[in-house]
Symmetry: C2
Subunit: 252 residues, 2 copies
């Protein structure tokens, strides 16, 4: 069943008004009719099967049929701080990261960032990014849409204490070491409801100076397996592992 994320102001108790792209999708793409059922998600994370009550010029009205209980949300709130990658790799991270359960994304500028996003470009990019995250949330049946936070500098990210219970950064030098702290040794100590921040560098990774800055601010360096991952693969490894640990294992 198709799921739509409907802004809070479009809910009036059990009555829902759907406009814009989603209405277009319901009317023109799905060719749904009055009486058919869709799933509507409220930004608070609740979702309900809903019956379409009327379809007029690009506006769909629906009414809640049944609130859904099950949740496809990770018990751990993971934020991916992704070093700005080249080409369309940020879109890969956002799309697949949403499928894999990320709660939030922060695009990060660091020493080895190559791409330049000026403010004008940024507005357009952010609109596109939000669209990707919304579509991936609908497709993967998420209850909550991940947020995309404003672009940050690594230094600011490192120094602002935003209440994370665990802060990690992927560090290629860790993958090359003979012995290292295992990724799972950090993850297994996280408790449901806690917030984890994982920082991933751009293509060239982090400089030694940046690694030192992060360590000084209580970020732990981790490797994500013994192989050298591309920047856009690292976030997916981290998110899949956390899902495996908290959603596909019996004890944690």
């Amino acid at each position: 069943m198709q799921r739509y994320f409907v802004p809070a102001e479009n809910w009036n108790d059990n009555e829902i008004v759907i406009t814009g792209d989603d209405a277009h999708h319901i009317i023109r793409v799905m060719r749904s009719k009055t009486g058919e059922t869709i799933i509507c998600s409220h930004p608070n994370g609740q979702a309900a099967t809903s019956t379409i009550t009327s379809i007029t010029n690009n506006v769909v009205h629906a009414v809640v049929k049944e609130w859904l209980e099950g949740s496809a949300e990770s018990p751990v709130e993971v934020t991916i701080a992704q070093g700005l990658p080249k080409n369309d790799k940020m879109e890969t991270v956002l799309q697949k990261g949403t499928e894999l359960g990320a709660a939030s994304f922060i695009p990060v500028r660091s020493e080895r960032t190559v791409v330049v996003w000026d403010d004008k470009k940024m507005d357009k990019k952010m609109r596109r990014f939000n669209k990707i995250v919304k579509e991936a949330s609908e497709q993967s049946q998420r209850n909550k849409m991940p947020s995309i936070q404003p672009i940050s500098d690594l230094k600011k990210l490192a120094e602002v204490n935003a209440g994370y219970h665990l802060k990690l950064f992927a560090y290629e030098e860790e993958a090359k070491k003979e012995t290292q702290q295992l990724f799972s040794s950090y993850i297994k100590n996280v408790r449901p409801g806690e917030r984890v921040l994982i920082v991933i560098g751009p293509e060239g990774g982090f400089s030694e100076k940046e690694a030192d800055l992060l360590k000084q601010n209580a970020f732990y360096p981790v490797r994500l397996g013994p192989r050298i991952l591309r920047t856009e693969t690292a976030a997916l490894y981290a998110l899949a592992s956390i899902s495996y640990q908290f959603e596909e294992s019996a004890y944690y």
Copy 2:
């Protein structure tokens, strides 16, 4: 240090001859000179730092300096049988799957396969696929290059007993069930050295009939987390989880 996969016939004890694209890469892209060090990987999985002894017209000669001990190969041999996906998604699975440690890939045709690959297209595709896997192996510092097996029908794949210790298939219906066997409950029973086959459907997943066929042939249905993953994300989830379990956990 740059790594190159050199065919067995190009090794003569400790002397290595590098030709073709790799020689081009060494000479024109890396602009390496005699005396510089590269890593050469033998198809048997061994790798050595090697000194370039001569560079002539598109041929590079090198001699083994030191055999490397560490291995970036997964202790578990995972084969991904991937339902033929649309567009360039197979390339995503091959590239990222190689980074994440897959031992082998099998492209699979099934009931809901939409794309058509005729034999002529297939040859060209396979050449391109092998190139992607080779480059991803070099980039991720693998010791062994994953193999790409010939395209198979699901029925054949299900019925041929190829000596796998564990056979799983990703089944969307599992993700929708209230209770299900956890993915980790299968993975945790695998021992190092064992072979695992994971079958992933195309965009539309598997039909009930196909799921029955697989079950009859000792394939277990699994969900990969509670969210509905795109076909190309499913393989990456499985491989990252297996790496997390066997390469980033203390006990298994």
